[in-house]
Structure formats: C-alpha cells, structure tokens
Symmetry: C2
Subunit: 452 residues, 2 copies
C-alpha cells in the first residue's frame, strides 16, 4: 500500500493544458494586488459581488456571444448526457441570473472578478484560461449608467497607477443606421460588423474584401470605410448630416453627444473620443460601446464593454436594460508585473530562526505569539542549521529574522535582524510587533503611490 | 443584428447545471467574509498563495485520487483531441507544479482558496462545484509540519468564531501495519481502506460485508473492526502491543504519540483524539491523517487532510515529503451564513439621493467626492422620484442617505439621514466622511466578535 503502490508506478513528467498557467507566489502576489485594487474601487462605487458557476448549460452559452465565440467554448457532455460548457465571459451568466430573479432591486450593480475560458490559439498576452473583472448596471436605460461603468473602470486603472486615458466610444445604433442608409439588407449587417471589428488587426483592404464577399457593392463598401475613418468630436456633425434620414442613427448620435456632455461630471473630461470604427466583437450590444486605452507605456485596449438592452429578455426575463464593462486582468498583469513585483512584498514579516533542534517547540511558541499579535510569521519546520534557515528567509524575501536560542530563551532578550540593512536589534517578545511596524515602512519599500 | 435578431428569437427560461449555484450579493458577502478571514489567517502563518488552472491534463488527474474520485471527474476532449478534466482537488495540481519546479525554496508553504468540481449526486451540503481552502507544506518530513497545518486550520476556524474543537488523528502506517499483522495480502489492502472509510456512513455490518466480499476471512474482519473501535490516548498503548511485530505500525504509532506531545506547543492541547477508524478517502496519503470537527453547533467534519510523501515523485519530481489540510468552505458557509449575514453589511455606505432630475450631474459629483475620500457610495442612475430612491436604499440595506437638491446645492448644507435610527444630520460635504466613520460603528452592527 502507500509506498508499494507508488513504487510500482512509472514516473512521468506532466505539464498543463496549452494556454493555461500556474502562478507561483511571486506572480500571485502581483495578481492579488491587481485584483484587490480593482475590487476596492468597484466596491467604492457601490458595485456588489455576485458569483456564478464556471459551468453553464450549453443552451445558455450557445449563440449568445455570436458564432465566433461559440466555436471557442469548451463544450462537453456530463455523465447524465447533458451538454455543458465553460463560460466564455461573465455577462451571459449575469443575464441568466437576472432573467431568473425578476425581483432583484434595480439598478442591480454587480461585479465579478473571475476566470473565463476560450479555446483560442494562445499567443502573446492571450490565454485559454484568463481572468476578467466585470461591472454591470442592470435596470437603467440612462446614459449615466454607461458613464458610471466607464468612470469606475478608469478609476480602477488609475488606482493601479495607470494614467493618460483614451476612452473610445461608438454606438451600435449609428452602425445600424449606417447600414440602413446604405440600403444594405438587414440579414447581412451582422457579417459587416464582424468584418469591421477586425479593422485594427487586418487593415482596410482585407476588411473591404470580406464585406464584398458577403454581397455588398463596391461603392457601399467604400462609403462604409469612409464612415469608420471619422474620429473625434467634430466628426459627429459630419456623420449626423450623412445619416439624418435614419432615426436609429440619430438616436445613437444623440447618445454619443450626451456621453461627451457628461464626461466632465464623471471625471472623464478630455478623454472621450468618438471612433466610428469601434464595433466590439460580441453580438449582444445594442447601444453605446466603449473601449479604454492608456497611452502611457504603449498599452493597447485594457477594458471594453457596452450596452446590451435585449440580452436578459433573450433568457426569458422581462425586458431589462443593462450595460457593463470588462477589465482585462491578464493585460494588466503583463503591463504592471514588473513594478508591482518590487512593491508587492511577501505577507510574511518575520522568520523565527531556531538555534538548536531541541528548542523547536520554543521557536514555534515564539512564532505563535507573533501571529497572535497580528504579525505574519513562520518558523523553521525542517530542523535545519541556522545558516540554512537564514538562506531560506533571504530567498523568500522575508524582511526580519528573529533568533531563538538558549541564550535568548534564558534572558528573554531576542535578536531581531533587519535582513535588508543587516542591522540587529535587541528586543523583548512583547515589543516585537511595535518595533516591526515602526521599521517596516522605512526599510521595506518606496513610499506607496497607490491611488486608494 | 441587435434588435431584429433578438426579436425573432424565441424566449426560454434557462437554469444552471445541477449541483451548481449562483451567489447573489447577500450570499456573496458572507462567502467573501469567510474566504477573506481564512486567507488572513493563512498568510499570518506564512503560507503564500499559488494558483493553478481549473483544467488539467487527464493523465494528471487520472489515478491520483483513486478510482472512486476518477469516476467523479468532469472529463472531455478539447478541439485538438487532448483529454482534459476539471480538477477535483487542489492537492494534485500542487504536486504537479512542485514536481516541475524542483528549485522552489523548501519548505514551500502555499495556500489556495478556489473552486473544484466533482460529478457526484448533489445532496444537502454537497455540490458539484465547490470551494476548498487548502494549505500545504512541501519539503519537510517533520511532524511539526503536520501540526502547523492542523493548528493553522484550527486558527482559521477560531477566527470565524467557531470553538470547541476535536482533532481526530490516525496514521496510514498504523493501518498498513494492521493489515500486515493480520496477514492480509497487500493487493487488497486498498479495498479494505476504502471500506473502512465508509464506517461512519454505513455502519459496521455493511463494512464487514464489503471486506469479506474482497476475500478477507471472518476472524480477520472482526479483528480489523476491533482495532477501529479504539479511540483516545489510552488506546495507543493497547494497539502498540498488538501491532508491535510490524515496524511500519510502530513508526506510525510513534508519530501519533509525537503529535499528542506537540499539541500544547501548537495550541491544540486537549483537542487531539486518536481514532483508528479514521482513513480519509484519497489514496495518496502515507502517514498522519487528520480531521477537524467542532463540537458546538452540531457541525461535522469541517477540515481534513494528511501527509502524502510520495505524490510528487509520482509526477516525475524528486522524492519530496509533503503534508496539507483542506477546509470545506461550503460547510462553513452553511453553518455560518445565518450569523455572518447579520454582521456582513453591504460595502456601500451612502446613497446619494437626487432631488429633481436636472440635478443628476450634481448628485454624481457629490457621490464622486465621497468616493474620492474613501466612502463607498452610489447615486441614483434611474431618474426616479425621491420616494423610490429611498425605497431602493432601504432594500439594499445602505445605512446612510444624503440628499442633493436645489436647496442643499445653494447653501452647501446637506441632509444626511441615518436609515436605521431615522435621524437626520445637517452636514457640509467635506465633513461627511468623518461623520460617517463616527456614526457607523454605533448604528450599524453589534461589537465585532471576530478573532482577528
């Protein structure tokens, strides 16, 4: 048994699925810092956490995000023969919950910071398992709700030390009006949007080819592309004139203007830029769509979302307006991990070194005293020589080492070593917490620059 | 496309997979409180967070937990034809990581609070998707490492307000020695352990029948059951005598005695009880196994674990001793949710009510000022009448409402209403944070009884 069973087995070196990652403590500290900062800002803005399963029924996931997303869903049958899938975003589960819980007080402001899965080709910064941080406001059709999502997202990014934002906005109603004015058949509009969504990635020639491929004439394609080239506030007036025959487009343009008007109120003045090429991939958007970039550090889009007023009724709920935004935690991790790694020290403050194996119970006792007083501490659990214990504390970046040997136990005066500055203090056990709190700020890290 | 596409679709009322749950904010606040408390205690004890994917290769999951667990794994092929599964525990992924990362400083003390999946028949308190909170110490073969896991788990439970613990301990080596002394063939020992593991659930008669069914004689079965009836410290001496011919059993008994000896050092005096019927289901255990119960409130086992010294080499790593314990978050949620629900107030402190639709931008401005000063706040995003806004604040349990109307904006004196006590204060915007911090403790909740 035990030993016998295992000794028979052949050894194997086993990895993990492609596109997934392990996060060892030094990475995890950074990720925890990012997620906690975002969480704090979300809660400051009155969003409350909601959690839903990683697994959803296939019927729930299918067709809600559009064909392209559907192909990316991890799909399988459970042992009862039901088709399930891993969620590919956090919005579809939200819509399912709201549709099944009609008596939620509105607006329902929720957040969720959690994993989603997409079976895509892994590439730099893109993974098959990744974390999204979403906020949504359900029940309000006001543009103020869209703006609240945007400004909360920007506040979260600011709290992480990012600055210099560009908020690209567009409106699905304008895009729909554009198609209407061009006289293109409604049934192929979706194809047009999917093609336009790839403009940034593949360029105009390729997009033009795709749209012509689904049966749109050359002249219409060229007018479509002309629209998408307009950016900035001034462009609104031009497009407004061109699309004035479409009520839907005019509605969309008025919403865009209202967003610009409100930008000062929501702390976003000077950051909002209209961009008619912005589409957002998912099919469920119905009104404003938006993306947040920060110009510093060459970071691309780091948050995106929009209004999806018809998704909840699609799940059988009463018609309920909704809007939301999603922050990409993986992109933030990539960008911030260098500097946060320096600032995110390990939680453990004190390593209690044990001099002489026979004093281990006393070392454990000292350690437990520190823990009781709120100082994260650990002691040697290996029975190692002092030198090896110090090496360990060093390799872990633990800032203080407290020595527990016969001399210290006899006199009650312990040596506390600051590992960075290589300074030793004589201190009584009960004074250690105060001393550490005093020293910690000055030796550990540069002054905090966090926004929160 | 937007509206057209959706209006065509037929409505459906869609649920979620069996054995999974949604957690609306009022549940989630309780869960967050439980998980944060556990996390804090884990970090106080020097454990560091590590994260691994929800998905693992099938080869990694298969056979590591034993046949019974294997049947419970959600298993599927990805689009590339690779067999994957959802992790059924947090220990197997840890062992994979350690085996692939030989240069981790030892002891490697990690924690993970995260979801696992098992395809079991859902029943009261048992779900197909559930959260475990694990700590593990990798690299130490000392009993002190086992004791550190146990005492950290108990400290976490204490911090949650639970008391009066019973820590049941046993040792796989004793169980193996027992089988050896009885002269039972090694190959069926595993079957015996699985049968014994069900003693609590099905009773002695049923267990005896199972063991006889795999070919063990009646007399041996009756001696086996006799062993398992011994509980408490005194029983050790008796079993020691009976099993003294097995070196393995004697080793196990000595470890049990050492655990009892160390219990005072680790703050567990009087709680540790030897129970020879304790087996723990998973096949990978090799030494001490343990379970924590709290006698108050009729809660059953709430944490369990043990030593698994051969699991890491099974994955191709160098032989590495390891031990760990897992807290059942779902059980804690079930037991604590009543009382934590009363204490876990929503994060939002202030609802900024807007009197008159035209003052919405000003209300948003006031709200943003409060947020900037660290007071979690929200404002009306619906354009509702004041009465409806107050109803909303009430239904959400938001403790303060601040009125923003023409009068307040003119004079700069705002009304702040304590919703519980129905008292109104006149206050200037810049004084709101101080006032709220002063009032909050006294009006909100009974004095904190938390351990941390």
């Amino acid at each position: 048994m035990g030993r016998n069973l295992f000794s028979k087995a052949k050894k194997m070196k086993l990895g993990k699925p492609r596109g997934t990652r392990d996060f060892l403590p030094e990475d995890m500290r950074v990720r925890r810092k990012i997620m906690d900062t975002i969480r704090t800002v979300f809660e400051l803005h009155g969003f409350e956490e909601m959690d839903t399963p990683a697994l959803e029924l296939w019927e729930v996931l299918a067709t809600k995000g559009g064909e392209e997303v559907e192909k990316q869903i991890y799909k399988f049958q459970d042992k009862g023969g039901r088709w399930l899938g891993l969620r590919f975003d956090l919005t579809v589960p939200l819509a399912r919950v709201v549709s099944n819980t009609p008596d939620l007080p509105k607006p329902f402001k929720r957040y969720c910071i959690s994993k989603v899965w997409r079976y895509e080709e892994p590439q730099s910064g893109r993974f098959r398992e990744f974390v999204q941080a979403d906020i949504d406001i359900v029940g309000s059709q006001k543009i103020e709700a869209d703006m609240e999502c945007l400004s909360t997202a920007v506040d979260a990014l600011r709290a992480l030390g990012l600055e210099d934002f560009e908020v690209k906005i567009n409106n699905r109603k304008v895009l729909e009006g554009m198609v209407e004015v061009l006289g293109v058949e409604n049934s192929i509009a979706e194809g047009i949007f999917h093609a336009l969504d790839r403009l940034d990635k593949v360029g105009e020639t390729e997009v033009a080819r795709s749209i012509e491929g689904i049966g749109v004439g050359e002249e219409e394609v060229s007018r479509l592309l002309e629209f998408t080239r307009f950016k900035g506030d001034d462009a609104i007036a031009y497009v407004e004139k061109e699309l004035k025959s479409s009520r839907r487009a005019v509605e969309g343009i008025n919403e865009l203007k209202r967003m610009i008007e409100l930008s000062r109120t929501f702390g976003l003045d000077g950051t909002i830029v209209v961009d008619f090429s912005l589409v957002r991939g998912l099919d469920y958007y119905t009104g404003p769509v938006f993306e947040v970039k920060t110009k510093s550090r060459g970071i691309g889009s780091i948050a995106g979302g929009g209004r999806y007023d018809h998704l909840i009724e699609k799940f059988g709920g009463v018609p309920t307006p909704a809007t939301g935004i999603s922050l990409g935690v993986e992109r933030l991790f990539e960008v911030l991990s260098g500097e946060l790694r320096d600032r995110a020290a390990p939680a453990t403050k004190v390593f209690v070194a044990c001099i002489g194996d026979e004093n281990m119970p006393q070392a454990v006792g000292v350690c437990r005293e520190l823990i009781k007083r709120g100082i994260p501490s650990e002691t040697d659990l290996m029975g190692r020589k002092l030198g090896r214990q110090l090496e360990y504390a060093n390799s872990k970046g633990i800032p203080f080492v407290m020595m527990v040997g016969p001399e210290e136990l006899r006199t009650g005066a312990f040596k506390l070593r600051e590992m960075h500055r290589k300074i030793e203090h004589q201190v009584r056990l009960e004074d250690v917490p105060t001393l550490i709190r005093k020293l910690d700020g000055s030796t550990q890290q540069p002054p905090s620059q966090e926004g929160q």
